[in-house]
């Protein structure tokens, strides 16, 4: 097989002259250039971070916050929760009357609340639920109950604008 390797940093060739080149064995002959060191070290740091806190504790905390979001946001009449699978992650996807999610997103953004809006790259799911797009509050371990309260206020603000 005449697979031409890329030039680079790793020892992908063992000997190079004008007459003959001897390539190193696979996989080295294909590993040219500087490997993605920064991302590898970054991933290690991210794993360390999560292990320091404990993935179970993170999961418990996020679930609690999610339940708090249901308690706080669901009482708003105009909100329809989409996605009710058991043991789902701590994401709160919702429809707000017939207000387009991009309008919801812009207004909440102005209130300092970042949410995800759009078809979530899952157009068939949007079609299933009969919506062009959705708004989603994605809860992470860095969020607090106060953030959820603000999100609820933000949603009320949207309703005020589109009253």
């Amino acid at each position: 097989m005449n697979q031409c390797p890329l030039p680079g940093w790793r020892r992908h060739d063992l000997s190079v002259t004008f007459d003959k080149t001897i390539y190193n064995e696979i996989p080295y002959k294909f590993e040219a250039g500087t490997p993605n060191i920064a991302d590898t070290i970054g991933l290690g740091a991210a794993i360390d971070y999560i292990e320091t806190i404990g993935i179970d504790r993170i999961s418990t905390y996020e679930s609690e916050l999610y339940l708090y979001a249901e308690e706080t946001i669901l009482p708003i009449d105009e909100v329809t929760l989409i996605g009710c699978a058991e043991k789902k992650g701590s994401v709160f996807s919702f429809k707000l009357k017939d207000i387009h999610p991009h309008d919801v997103g812009t207004i909440m953004d102005m209130e300092g609340i970042a949410i995800r809006t759009g078809h979530m790259c899952t157009q068939p799911v949007m079609k299933h639920f009969g919506v062009p797009a959705l708004s989603r509050i994605s809860i992470g371990l860095y969020n607090t109950k106060a953030d959820i309260d603000r999100a609820a206020e933000g949603i009320k603000k949207v309703l005020e604008v589109f009253a």
């Binding site: 207000i99 309008d103 812009t106 102005m110 078809h119 589109f162």
Partner: protein, 150 residues
């Protein structure tokens, strides 16, 4: 409401979003085009009836956010009765306004009702919502059947 928000969601815009004008199909039409923003799902059809270089009738169908819907609605209201040439000139000026290239207040005022969209320039991600219907109208006049703003 804060000032920037007031600028983008003006009464006129909210009104056209709630009750869009010329929201229907023209059949038969002389020009038509479909506009799609695949990133956000805004989807618009523009229909035109052009007779001797004059836009006798113009309408739209589709769905999208308040900005895109009201922009299509106001566009149809403003372009009816204009010549194709005038429509193209207004499109260029409108586009310059929402992208922030046109800042001269007097020039913006000349755009009349369309000037309500000047606040959009402060929201870069919403510029495409405001301009989708216009790009689609432009494409229809140039007999392009499909346009995307990605």
């Amino acid at each position: 409401m804060n000032e920037e928000l007031k600028e983008i969601y003006q009464e006129v815009i909210l009104d056209h979003n709630k009750s869009p004008r010329n929201f229907r199909k023209i059949d038969p039409s002389t020009h038509t085009s479909e506009g799609l923003n695949p990133l956000c799902g805004d989807h618009v059809f523009i229909y035109l009836d052009v007779q001797e270089g004059v836009i006798v009738d113009i309408s739209f169908e589709g769905n999208g956010c308040a900005i895109s819907k009201s922009s299509a609605s106001i566009m149809t209201a403003e372009l009816k009765g204009k010549t194709v040439e005038q429509a193209e000139q207004i499109f260029t000026r409108f586009h310059d306004m929402v992208t922030g290239k046109l800042t001269d207040e007097e020039e913006i005022e000349k755009l009349g009702k369309l000037s309500v969209f000047q606040g959009v320039r402060d929201f870069p991600v919403r510029v495409k919502c405001a301009s989708l219907a216009w790009h689609t109208m432009h494409a229809a006049l140039h007999s392009e059947t499909e346009v995307t703003t990605e």
